[in-house]
């Protein structure tokens, strides 16, 4: 019944994992073999991903699982497994392909780095963990891989370990996401307790299947929201988004792969994967859990888009745009458009990887300059980068017709317009579309159109870096073919329905609306930044607002002043209390014991004078130690035993 690939799905993550171990054992000097091993393993994983894709194409709504026992505690088996369905297959294809592009790009970008091999080992490890997340058919296995993804991200953000800022950012990322993971973990525990299984699909007995959903109905909202905590952390949703912009301290290919295309989408993927928990008991497609998802998404999308307007670091702008787009995906899931959200996730992975790699190419070409105000004129100097970057920018902004992002965004807006919860998210997202077009236009003008501002003439990147750019750009455009409302193949594939072709449906009112909005955003940007100098025109007109946004709404500062300071204080307090209160208290109890010996044995000089610590301080040297031991402690002890025994006898006789 099962295609051969299903029980062998583990090979897909195993390949990069093996590559990673292999590279680590190769040592620092073997740079070329390291890159080759990593790329070869990734390519092989891509081939297997295609093999996994095939059966899901053949049957709409295909789903096959392979479950097995991980370990048995007492009489209970903990079972984990793999699942192959359209969601898994599409994610596998995306991750392996984007990873492959980024691996190839990295061979150029990291060429001069001393720790080139370690970089590829970490990248491969990341890829393995991420692939593990998408094939998991068990929340436990998913959580395991989820945490390993977090570890990989930690290692890669802090890759330039000599930079204190990188180490701090890595720590921040790990801990912030772990805050969310605590919720996720509790959600898993709760689910395990109530449904008795952590398998998602298990021939009718899985947690996501009808019987179990019925059993957990009363707690489904809590379980869903706890799991959502994990998604909030990983996908950089408000209020745990603060780590993601800092994560740009990592090398740019890392930002592209992990903090734009794949890992940050894991949260969205997770919500989509366990969507039945969220939608359980829905009335008109609205549940409390889904409403929370929508509002968190809306707040994130809008807030990040606003902050992106006032950033000057090319990677930070993209980082905030990622946060904003992830918010958009969350909204889509929240209003019930799971397929629309995932399709946007897939399209976003391509064009955002493209943008980040483009940014990498720009940074590489302009001698590690990241401030857009000091760039300029790159249109002529880096033509390939410019062309591909423009495609990425138009996809992200949602310029209609040709670019994948436009169709997927339109689909999401369509969903929010028909949501029964509230009309407000829809309008806020429309505002978000304008903002996105605006900040991307600002960036394009500064980087490519403004006059050249540096002495050091930038240069186009080598071919090993531009070819992945071109490949991703082609995908960003080519993907539209299966996304248009005329032939929404990808949606229908994810929903498990065959797609039909209707050219007429391509004309949608939403299309015009978004064309107008994008036009407004781009127009506004051109108007404002046409003749911009190094000082920002927006900053001149609205200095207070601009400062507010530049400083990321002071959220980091607020966290520092509240949560962080409070917990640091709690730590110091715990330490202080331990040293000064509890220790004394325990010393007092010890003293009581000595008192007991004292009272019963009559006068004992040592017993009178010594509290625990004083006696400790007064004991010096082995000779005296041994003598103390003989004259004092052992006798005390024996006395205490004797007295205690007698006391107990008396008490016993008295009570019994």
């Amino acid at each position: 019944m099962n295609p051969w690939i299903v029980p062998n799905l583990w090979i897909i993550p195993a390949l990069p994992l093996l590559a990673s171990l292999c590279i680590l054992s190769l040592g620092k000097a073997r740079r070329r073999p390291a890159a080759l091993v990593a790329i070869f393993a990734q390519a092989a994983a891509l081939v297997l991903a295609v093999a996994a894709f095939a059966p899901t194409l053949a049957t709409p709504g295909f789903r096959a699982t392979h479950n097995f026992t991980w370990f048995t505690f007492g009489e209970n088996a903990v079972r984990i497994g793999f699942v192959l369905d359209p969601l898994t297959a599409a994610m596998l294809m995306m991750i392996t392909f984007v990873s492959l592009c980024i691996f190839v790009f990295s061979t150029g970008y990291m060429a001069e780095d001393a720790n080139f091999t370690r970089f590829f080992a970490y990248l491969s490890f990341f890829s393995a963990a991420m692939l593990g997340v998408v094939i998991s058919n068990s929340l436990l296995l998913l959580f395991v891989c989820w945490e390993l993804v977090g570890l990989a991200s930690y290692l890669l953000i802090g890759f330039w370990i000599h930079k204190p800022s990188a180490a701090a950012a890595a720590k921040k990322a790990f801990i912030t996401t772990r805050v969310g993971d605590i919720g996720f973990f509790l959600g898993i525990l709760w689910l395990y307790g109530t449904s008795g299984t952590l398998l998602l699909y298990d021939g009718g007995r899985g947690a996501l299947e009808a019987t179990s959903l019925l059993a957990i109905a009363s707690s489904a909202t809590f379980i869903a929201l706890l799991i959502f905590c994990g998604a909030v952390g990983k996908s950089g949703q408000f209020p745990l988004h603060v780590w993601l912009p800092d994560a740009m301290e990592g090398p740019t290919p890392v930002s592209a792969l992990i903090h734009a295309a794949t890992m940050v989408a894991a949260g969205v993927f997770l919500v989509a994967r366990v969507f039945p928990f969220f939608s359980s008991g829905a009335v008109d497609g609205v549940t409390p859990a889904l409403t929370v998802v929508v509002w968190v998404g809306v707040i994130t999308a809008l807030m990040a888009a606003l902050i992106a307007i006032a950033q000057d670091d090319i990677k930070r702008i993209l980082a905030y745009s990622t946060v904003s787009q992830l918010g958009l995906m969350m909204v889509s899931l929240g209003v019930g458009g799971v397929a629309a959200g995932i399709v946007h996730l897939l399209a976003h992975a391509f064009f955002k990887a493209l943008l980040f790699l483009g940014a990498g190419s720009i940074i590489h070409g302009s001698h590690h300059e990241q401030d857009i105000r000091r760039m300029g004129g790159l249109r002529r100097l880096m033509p390939v980068t410019f062309a591909t970057y423009a495609i990425g920018m138009m996809s992200l902004s949602g310029v209609p017709l040709l670019f994948s992002g436009a169709w997927t965004k339109e689909e999401i807006l369509h969903g929010t317009a028909h949501w029964h919860g509230s009309p407000i998210p829809h309008y806020l997202l429309l505002l978000g579309v304008v903002l996105t077009a605006f900040y991307m236009t600002r960036q394009m003008i500064y980087v490519f159109f403004a006059p050249q501002r540096t002495q050091n003439t930038p240069h186009e990147s080598p071919r090993v870096m531009t070819i992945p750019l071109i490949a991703l750009a082609v995908c960003s455009i080519g993907l539209s073919v299966i996304l248009t409302p005329a032939w929404p193949w990808l949606h229908q594939y994810l929903l498990g329905r065959p797609a039909e072709f209707h050219l007429g449906r391509i004309i949608q009112p939403m299309l015009f609306l978004s064309a107008v909005l994008v036009g407004a955003g781009v127009g506004l940007g051109v108007l404002l930044y046409r003749n911009a100098e190094t000082s920002d025109p927006l900053a001149q007109r609205q200095p207070a607002l601009f400062r507010f946004l530049t400083n990321r709404m002071w959220l980091d500062e607020i966290y520092h002043a509240t949560v962080l300071r409070l917990s640091a204080f709690a730590a110091l307090f715990a330490d202080w209390m331990d040293r000064n209160v509890i220790d004394r208290l325990a010393g007092g109890v010890g003293g009581f014991g000595q008192l007991l010996g004292l009272v019963t044995a009559g006068v004992d000089e040592r017993g009178i004078n010594a509290g625990v610590n004083e006696s400790a301080d007064s004991t010096r040297g082995i000779g005296r130690l041994v003598s103390t031991w003989h004259s004092g402690r052992v006798q005390n002890y024996l006395r205490a035993v004797a007295v205690g025994a007698v006391t107990l006898l008396i008490v016993y006789a008295w009570l019994g």
Binding site: F71, A571, I582, R633, G656
Partner: protein, 487 residues
């Protein structure tokens, strides 16, 4: 067979004390490994499907007080015997050691084997106390700056606990006339002692074990002791001696006093949660590396206590949850033993190289000593409970079971995972990254002989993290039986 376990290190200690100073460690290591071999043989011949005591040796000893020489192992005992066989040789390798040091370590090993296999209180207590003296001397003679104070503090605390426990057992003996664990456990289900006497006896045993297992607020001896003990002794203290407390809780307190525990369970759970959270927070505030790991050890022991109290908390205990919790606690005991020992080993290496344990004295190690940092990270992440390494399995099962049995306490305790991560990552950041500390140039990476110690232990952590079934096989039958007895 068990007698061989107990006796070989003891005779070994005699051998070592007459061996030439330069060979002492090699002889001790050989003998320690020899006993490990005996333990391995036991494991091979152990019937994992049976919950009965195995390899039982029973002789009359002091018939007047019902004290028998009764040794035997069930799954849980065997687990700890194996752990002892791993950690003691590991600890001997941690530092250069002379005759006295090695002899004392071997005596500790005897005491540990005895404690984990004795099935009669008098014998058990003898071994329990026997572990105290060599540890005391190890700290006293080879310890750090405040060794005098630490040694006496350690001694007084644990001694006081022991006295309380002994009194309690005398009371029980007077009531029932037996010291046999199995018989007492049989009586425990239907109230061993009623009324105030019962509470007195419970209190005494509880105190003795809580001090040993460093339950809040009886834990303050632990950071001082671990900080000042020599590396090898710290490894044994954290890896094994603290487990004697947990072992006692499961072997004695749970079967003997289920009613008492369940009556005051909310209070006990609060203590466990305090243990977990306050120690994790305190760890964050430490500037001394060893002290930080010591505090995190209290947190990890706190997870075990949480599980133990949660099992007894409700009058109705679904077998799945009870089994999950007990399995989790046993797994955690094993894993913490290995990981804590490994971390203290690494701290020892750093101390040898730098002459200091202050976190601020290090920095930029990753650039100089990638191997040291890489392998140390494995232990650190295992301590942090990263899935894929051994620490996660036990913690997951403890939380799984206790969440169903005591939801609110567990929900709070889970934040221990977060604070542990904060403390450990802060330490990693300070140690590994940033600028190279000034004289780090002379800082050597892991040497070949150190690698031969570190690599197998790290691989063991990885093996348990990925495929833990072989560990579960040791104690599954025991867990089922314990859960049934509690149900």
């Amino acid at each position: 067979m068990i007698t061989a376990l107990v006796v070989i290190p003891l005779i070994g200690a005699l051998f070592v004390s007459v061996a030439p100073q330069s060979r002492a460690r090699a002889v001790a290591l050989g003998l320690s490994l020899l006993t490990a071999l005996v333990a391995l043989t036991m494991w091979r011949n152990f019937d994992g499907s049976s919950a009965e005591l195995q390899f039982v040796e029973r002789y009359t000893w002091i018939p007047a007080i019902g004290a028998e020489y009764l040794l035997g192992v069930d799954g849980f005992s065997l687990l700890l015997v194996l752990l002892t066989s791993i950690v003691v040789p590991f600890a001997l390798l941690a530092q250069p050691a002379g005759r006295g040091f090695c002899a004392l370590m071997l005596i500790t090993q005897t005491a540990l084997y005895g404690t984990f296999t004795a099935q009669n209180f008098v014998l058990w207590f003898l071994f329990f106390e026997m572990s105290l003296i060599p540890s005391f001397l190890l700290i006293k003679l080879w310890g750090g700056l405040n060794r005098d104070r630490a040694a006496v503090k350690f001694f007084v605390f644990t001694f006081f606990g022991s006295v309380a426990m002994l009194l309690a057992f005398l009371g029980i003996y007077l009531a029932h006339g037996t010291f046999d664990f199995a018989r007492l456990a049989g009586l425990g289900a239907a109230r061993l002692l009623t009324g105030n006497v019962g509470w007195l006896a419970f209190g005494g045993i509880f105190l003795g074990l809580a001090v040993k297992a460093a339950l809040f607020p009886f834990h303050t001896w632990l950071p001082d002791t671990y900080e000042n003990a020599p590396t090898g002794a710290t490894m044994v203290l954290s890896g094994l001696l603290s487990k004697m407390g947990i072992y006692g809780f499961i072997r004695l307190l749970l079967p003997l006093f289920p009613h008492e525990i369940s009556t005051i369970a909310p209070w006990l759970l609060t203590l466990a949660v305090c243990s977990i959270l306050l120690s994790a927070l305190a760890a964050w505030a430490q500037s001394d590396l060893k002290r930080m790991v010591a505090y995190l050890s209290i947190t990890h022991l706190g997870y075990c206590m949480l599980g133990i109290f949660a099992v007894a908390a409700l009058p109705q205990r679904p077998p799945v949850e009870a089994q999950a919790t007990l399995s989790g606690v046993m797994m955690q005991v094993f894993n913490h033993g290995i990981t804590a020992a490994a971390l203290f080993y690494f701290v020892g290496l750093l101390e040898q190289r730098r002459g200091s344990r202050t976190i601020a004295d290090f920095g930029g190690l990753m650039q100089r000593t990638p191997l040291l940092c890489g392998w140390m990270s494995v232990a650190l992440f295992s301590f942090l409970g990263l899935p894929g390494l051994n620490g996660f399995i036990g913690e997951f099962l403890i939380f799984k079971g206790s969440f169903a049995l005591a939801a609110s306490a567990t929900a709070v305790a889970v934040f221990g995972l977060l604070f542990t991560a904060v403390a450990l990552l802060r330490c990693m950041q300070a140690l590994f990254s940033g600028r190279i500390a000034n004289d780090a140039a002379s800082f050597a990476d892991l040497r070949r002989n150190e690698l031969t110690v570190v690599v197998p232990v790290s691989l063991l952590m990885l093996a348990i993290g990925i495929a833990p079934q072989w560990v579960f096989n040791i104690f599954n039958a025991t867990v089922i039986q314990m859960a049934r007895a509690l149900a």
